[in-house]
């Protein structure tokens, strides 16, 4: 029987699991379905974010960079891109994501987000187990300018997990009433214990690619007008170390600069761009400690305070400017 991934979160009557009473197969099956749901529903790998980049046919191929560690079990993603033509006529744009086909879409002249977004279904050639730059490649087929207003991406759920030693899908038939508890690969109690032990709920906190920002100041200057909220899942610790990186460059060879990420709870971390950083690329990755949710609160905010991250940058030496167009923070 397949290790199916339910649409809704299955319930467990954990109060039925008590000393002196037999644990029903039904209860254990629900627990297995719940674990399948937790693992198989997919992640939001690009939380919706404003972009603001503009392209025209004169720009040739333009890439938007979304860097994160996705679910290692996902095999398809849904991308949504809002775009509009700033000219008097709508404009066509070719979109390619990953190894998928190139598709042509029309960006309307109306700026309203009520325009249906470009929806691109990306089918992965391989499961992704390391942090990766999921590049959205665009080519405008118009001399008018097309503005990319916003981008988001979520992973499609899996119909079922594979019953193997990687995904740990559990054969649900092994929990049918009157079935004996046994220790066979991907069956019964031991398999459920393996699967739950291997669960690792993760979040992508920030995955925003936007217009180029730069500063030539020798003092730290904030990149965003306000810091971005980021609150980690609670798995036994009040804090969590999360991974971060930037899409950035220095304006010229030989210059150097520093990015500083600051959490509202007090932690800071830096990424330095040295003399060879004159080309745009992912810089980092590094880690910073942020607060985790307080699961006793109605909103999860510890001490009723949002945990946030703010990025700042400064030039260290050589002059020129330090530039950034993307900030990424996720559970590594």
């Amino acid at each position: 029987m397949p290790a199916s991934v339910p649409y809704r979160r299955p319930g467990i009557e954990h109060a039925d699991v008590k000393v002196g009473a037999s644990v029903r197969g039904f209860t254990s099956r629900n627990a297995a379905e719940l674990a399948h749901w937790t693992r198989g529903r997919g992640m939001c790998i690009v939380p919706h974010s404003r972009c603001g980049r503009r392209i025209s046919s004169a720009d040739g191929t333009v890439a938007l960079h979304y860097y994160t560690l996705p679910s290692p079990f996902a095999i398809a993603r849904i991308w949504s891109i809002h775009a509009h033509s700033t000219g008097s006529t709508s404009g066509d744009m070719d979109v390619t994501i990953g190894s998928g086909p190139t598709r042509t879409y029309t960006a309307p002249t109306v700026t309203s987000p009520a325009n249906p977004p470009i929806v691109y279904v990306e089918e992965l050639a391989a499961k992704v187990v390391t942090a990766t730059d999921a590049t959205v490649t665009l080519v405008a087929n118009t001399t008018d300018t097309i503005q990319i207003d916003s981008v988001s991406c979520y992973e499609l759920p899996r119909p079922a997990l594979t019953e193997d030693a990687t995904e740990y899908g559990v054969d649900l038939e092994s929990f049918f009433p009157q079935s004996s508890i046994h220790d066979t690969a991907n069956e019964s109690a031991h398999a459920l214990a393996e699967l739950v032990d291997d669960l690792n709920p993760r979040r992508v906190y920030i995955n925003q690619y936007h217009t180029d920002w730069s500063t030539s100041s020798g003092s730290y200057t904030d990149v965003y007008t306000l810091p971005l909220p980021a609150l980690a899942p609670y798995t036994g610790s009040a804090t969590k170390s999360v991974t971060w990186a930037v899409w950035a460059s220095m304006s010229g060879a030989g210059n150097s600069g520093t990015f500083r990420l600051t959490a509202a709870s007090g932690a800071t971390d830096t990424i330095t761009l040295t003399a060879d950083a004159s080309t745009w690329a992912i810089y980092g990755t590094s880690t910073i400690t942020i607060n985790a949710e307080d699961v006793t609160k109605v909103d999860g905010l510890p001490a009723s305070t949002w945990e946030t991250l703010q990025l700042a940058a400064k030039v260290d030496s050589g002059g020129g400017s330090i530039r950034v167009a993307g900030l990424y923070a996720f559970d590594g």
Binding site: V17, V19, A35
Partner: protein
């Protein structure tokens, strides 16, 4: 909040549940059952997270109403789809909201945030459900985190929004597998604004929406 008996993760040895290891009900409850519940709570995702950059070289990273709009009428300024995590009763996980914005010239502006299926967005903005957030009378001329009229920083989306949001997608069951279907509750966050003075538009400069489990 937590649905697990212990409210946190309890470490256990997988080998304790193998052959020839008698397991008591308490070990089963406090180990795999507890952790399955807690991890399911914590799979909540960040759905929307952006802030305006302090300066840019191309288009705007904030969201403003399009030109030619009438004053005092709602116009949509940002819209985002997401795949909702559904609780056992079919309602979505609680959504934590933070919205930042300002009034261009200081005359009072309003923002409204709604969550619904794609087809109901237009209806909901004019007849908002009880869980919609409205930010009335914003006069700040600089970016600030705004407080909704409800005073709450979260919303609980009702079943009436979740049910019509069901979408069926065709997808492979595994790499190089065969096509099957999966169901997704695809909801949309939509932010609207209105203003009374044509030169004083409502500008959205940041938005955060994240899931949080609450029974």
């Amino acid at each position: 909040m937590s649905s697990s008996p212990l409210g946190t993760v309890e470490l256990y040895a997988v080998a304790d549940f193998a052959d020839n290891h008698p397991v008591g009900a308490r070990a089963w409850r406090d180990g795999p059952i507890n952790n399955a519940l807690h991890y399911a709570d914590q799979r909540a995702q960040v759905l929307v997270n952006w802030q305006e950059v302090t300066s840019g070289t191309e288009g705007q990273t904030n969201a403003a109403p399009p030109g030619g709009q009438s004053t005092s009428s709602w116009s949509e300024i940002d819209r985002a789809p997401f795949s909702a995590s559904l609780k056992t009763d079919g309602t979505p996980y609680r959504l934590r909201i933070q919205l930042a914005g300002y009034s261009q010239g200081g005359a009072a502006v309003d923002f409204r945030l709604i969550v619904s299926d794609f087809d109901s967005i237009d209806d909901y903005v004019f007849s908002p459900p009880t869980y919609a957030e409205t930010y009335t009378g914003i006069t700040s001329t600089s970016t600030a985190i705004l407080t909704p009229d409800s005073g709450l920083n979260y919303i609980d989306v009702g079943i009436q929004a979740a049910d019509p949001a069901l979408r069926i997608h065709s997808t492979l069951d595994d790499l190089a597998g065969t096509y099957q279907t999966v169901s997704v509750c695809e909801l949309w966050v939509s932010v609207w604004s209105r203003y009374t003075v044509s030169t004083d538009k409502a500008i959205l400069t940041g938005l955060h929406v994240s899931e949080y489990f609450a029974p």
